[in-house]
């Protein structure tokens, strides 16, 4: 019975999220908007690359960088999506207090809203990868993709990101509007330390040690091995994770997801309690 109620909360929150994300404009403009933004973000890197290589894109590193950046959209958007629920409902629509006291599971509400963000991001990721393959010659072949590895990694990675987002959402309860910087910052940590657009071996040794503690590092590697196995095997030891088998990567992803589940729920509860005590559940800070 409780599960049915939670699923209804999830479904309604997802529907609400979809309406909030999309009903400000017509479907065509929304589709364009959903594609232009991620594509522009990727093209920044492409031009940075082209300026240095004088237009050469037929390299393993270009494919490595392009795919990593496309997949990173999930990291940034999912983390942002979860915390933005708190910020937007509290500061903009001022409905957080109503949602908060409603007889529903707040977790299901947040994850329902985040689910729609994942769906929209998936469209951007897919379009960017297709653009890379067909326009820029990124090395991804349908026949060489390791589908089981790709799908399992994708599901585990998205679950881990949602769970991490929950911790950040808890912290957002306690921060003013600057709190949006949390998403930018944490996503930035992953961007620089998780081998998103360059192999971690270029980092100083101490930074590489931190990289190997971050689940996103293993997620990126697993996703790349699934999507572009030829590129990863071609780069060999340059990636810094070549000695690890696929099963080991999966194990790391599963264990880190479970660990983050406990840590995130703990942080969220602590922050929630502190926000109640300080009367911050319904404050606004738009100065």
């Amino acid at each position: 019975m409780a599960m049915r109620g939670n699923l209804r909360t999830f479904k309604n929150a997802a529907w609400l999220g979809w309406q909030m994300e999309s009903n400000w404009t017509d479907p065509f403009l929304f589709a364009t908007y959903s594609i232009v933004k991620p594509l522009a973000g990727t093209l920044i890197l492409v031009f940075m690359y082209l300026v240095i290589t004088n237009g050469e894109t037929d390299t393993l590193f270009f494919s490595y960088m392009f795919i990593g950046n496309a997949l990173y959209m999930y990291v940034a958007d999912v983390l942002f999506g979860v915390t933005w629920v708190i910020h937007d409902d509290r500061e903009h629509y001022m409905t957080l207090k109503q949602v908060y006291i409603a007889p529903i599971s707040f977790y299901y509400y947040i994850f329902g809203r985040a689910a729609i963000k994942i769906a929209i991001t998936s469209v951007g990721v897919l379009f960017t990868i297709l653009f890379g393959i067909f326009v820029l010659g990124v090395e991804v072949s349908l026949v060489s993709i390791s589908w089981p590895l790709l799908i399992v990694s994708l599901v585990l990675g998205l679950a881990a990101l949602c769970i991490m987002g929950l911790a950040l959402g808890g912290i957002t309860f306690l921060t003013a509007k600057h709190g949006q910087g949390i998403n930018e910052g944490v996503a930035g940590i992953f961007y620089v330390l998780s081998g998103v657009i360059f192999p971690i071996t270029i980092l100083p040794t101490w930074a590489q040690s931190i990289s190997k503690l971050l689940p996103v590092t293993y997620w990126m590697e697993a996703m790349r091995r699934g999507l572009e196995p030829g590129v990863i095997s071609g780069l060999g030891s340059t990636t810094g994770l070549d000695g690890m088998g696929n099963w080991f990567l999966m194990l790391v992803l599963i264990l880190s997801t479970i660990a983050f589940l406990f840590i995130s729920v703990g942080i969220f509860r602590l922050a929630d309690k502190a926000a109640r005590r300080k009367g911050k559940i319904d404050w606004t800070t738009a100065y």
Binding site: Y33, I44, T53, E184, G185, Y191, V192, F198
Partner: protein, 274 residues
């Protein structure tokens, strides 16, 4: 235009700038989030250039561009979107009733925003220079100041203009700001010389003052790279920025009057949730 009118409007500028300046000191968490953490994204680009063995000037280009993103984000989220947010939070009707020029309110927003954004950008630049050991040339400080000041005046003039236009977008304002982030980073050449996009693309992107400002700052900080990477000469860019200053401040007045007129005839200007 009496003395008291001028003083009242100067007070309005100070009054609107005040919460932004004071707000930043009352919520010190922004120091960590807004200065230290964005540097990580810049660091990622630096390491990417390093991995590709790019000329060392490119590390400086990225840090400079990364610092300047603070201004563009401030324009989008704290200038352009601000009147829309004021409407949603109920302050806009108070601003419109106040016996001051609306331009003073916008100017106050700009002054306050410029203050804390300059702190953020300056800190990002300083930390980036220290961490990555970047050296910048300061051979022409007067021109450097002139370029920075004209870029900021033109940019915040653009922000004042967008603030009125965004009111017309309603709920599209948030999405518009989102949409104008990465594409502007791309066409304005925040992380690579804008010249590499081709002359006409760079010329089109020059409508955004930060395009010319960044290109000129790069030339001033790295005089030896000018011939290879510069879009236009520094003097030409300064001239174009002066023109943009005048155009955007004029357009901000025009768009503000239009928005106010539209609000009076439709009676929906301060209506929330539109």
């Amino acid at each position: 235009m009496s003395d008291s009118w001028i003083i009242r409007n100067l007070r309005a500028i100070r009054g609107r700038a005040y919460p932004r300046i004071v707000g930043s000191s009352r919520e010190p968490s922004w120091v960590f989030f807004d200065i230290t953490l964005p540097l990580l994204t810049v660091a990622a680009y630096v390491y990417m250039y390093k991995f590709m063995d790019a000329p060392k000037e490119f590390v400086g280009f990225v840090i400079l561009g990364g610092a300047m993103t603070a201004f563009w984000l401030n324009i989008l989220w704290s200038m352009a979107s601000q009147l829309y947010w004021e409407k949603e939070t109920g302050n806009l009707s108070l601003f419109l009733m106040a016996p001051v020029s609306r331009m003073s309110i916008l100017a106050g927003m700009a002054v306050g925003g410029l203050f804390f954004t300059t702190l953020r950008a300056g800190s990002t630049l300083a930390i980036g220079i220290l961490v990555f050991g970047v050296s910048l040339s300061l051979s022409n400080p007067l021109m450097l100041i002139a370029i920075f000041v004209t870029t900021m005046v033109a940019l915040y003039g653009m922000g004042m203009m967008l603030a009125s236009l965004y009111l017309l977008f309603g709920r599209e304002a948030y999405n518009m700001s989102n949409l104008l982030t990465e594409p502007v980073y791309l066409v304005s050449g925040f992380y690579f010389p804008v010249r590499s996009l081709g002359f006409w693309t760079a010329a089109g992107a020059s409508v955004i003052p930060i395009t010319l400002g960044l290109d000129a700052l790069r030339q001033l900080f790295y005089p030896s790279t000018g011939a290879q990477y510069a879009f236009l000469s520094i003097h030409l860019e300064l001239g174009a920025l002066c023109v943009l200053c005048a155009v955007f401040i004029l357009l901000s007045k025009v768009s503000l009057d239009y928005m106010e007129k539209l609000g009076k005839t439709s009676g929906r200007l301060t209506l929330r949730w539109q």
